[in-house]
Symmetry: none
Subunit: 122 residues, 4 copies
DNA sequence: GTGGTCTAGACCACG
DNA sequence: GTGGTCTAGACCACT
């Protein structure tokens, strides 16, 4: 299993696939030139329809993240900085939301330490 | 304008309304017994359809957050702490994601300071 | 308190009032010539709006059940057999429904005995 | 035609749909894992709007009676016994009402026999 | 084809 | 004025 898809999320499955692929590139798990799994394989793996994975890959090709090699599959081309920047912006908004709801800086710090200094975290 | 709705988000508008109302209760902007705006007023205010607001309020009634009084409006009943707990859990997952993508603890700390110590934010 | 109104029922409040008045006539609690409570009094008693009671009485006048006496109030005129017949028809439909759902005749008989031979009921 | 909807009833159509679906599960006509008709098919069949059926199914999902599978349909998940218990309680109240209105036990017994021993009924 | 969401507009019951 | 329901029709995501 490459990653997890939340079928109950409101985020479309194909978008979730795009996000996870991009995250794997940013994190270095997928490098330029690597093959991503075939549409059929990933579809089987995630338990979703082939068309859905195909659509995700198509979007990634449009964004220049993947490149389609006829008869072979898709390879990683690269990814700009914009994805990570968007993620950080979303994070900031998330944080502001929590602040508004009365969550203290200390509570946030505690979670931060948990994530960064506890080996049991992802 | 009570709050902002992102019409481009994949999160359904009615869900966004639910979330904002709950956040306002958690933050104390709405207290038990307060009237929330009428479905028609809020719909006009947010630029969405009346039915969409009605659906959001109906869901909040199902969750015990609001109570409907025919011919009068909706009043705030209360909110469990499960909402905030879920928010904090989502935040932690968000954080782990960023860590996996190679974001350093320092970068996160920087954003944290921005949100909590810069009046121009939020 | 004359009777109970279910504010959460889908049956309109004014219809519920009509039904209860009719039931009281059928049962003999209200006889021909009796005064029903004033609109204001009943409204206060039931905790509903004056208009709602007024509407119920208006309907009952239309059906010939009540008669309006200008400046005095409303008196009971009488009630046909149709009300009880409708009630019995509804009861039969209710019973057929339970039968379809697999409720045995014995279970029904048990409830029947409870209602007709237990002084704590009704 | 799956079942009948009373368009003149004060009970909302979506509630009537919920009730009939639940009754069919209790009676065994629908079993766990069965597909219920698609929202569009049932809407066409009953002569109501698609949204109305969708709302009914949504409520049943909230109650844990149905489960939705995107692109496939809704399947029956199960039903607690609370539904039947509520039905029996309503029946008892109905019966007490009739007793108060002067209906004799004998008359009730007669209807009971009609329903349970006459093939022309139900 | 399936479900999920949204809009625009209608009518009813209640205060 | 308030909420509650329903319709007709649209677009999207998914199989």
């Amino acid at each position: 299993m490459w990653f997890h898809i939340d079928m109950n999320s409101h985020v479309p499955v194909y978008k979730q696939i795009c996000e996870r692929i991009k995250a794997m590139i940013i994190s270095g798990k997928l490098k330029e030139g690597d093959y991503v799994p075939s549409v059929r394989k990933l579809a089987l793996d995630l338990g979703v329809n082939v068309n859905t994975v195909a659509r995700a890959y198509r979007e990634l090709v449009n964004e220049g993240v993947l490149q389609s090699i006829r008869g072979e599959g898709y390879i990683v081309k690269g990814i700009g900085r914009s994805f990570l920047e968007r993620k950080l912006k979303d994070f900031k908004k998330n944080l502001q939301d929590l602040k508004t709801m009365g969550v203290s800086e200390g509570e946030i710090e505690k979670i931060l330490k948990e994530v960064f200094h506890d080996d049991t975290n992802g």
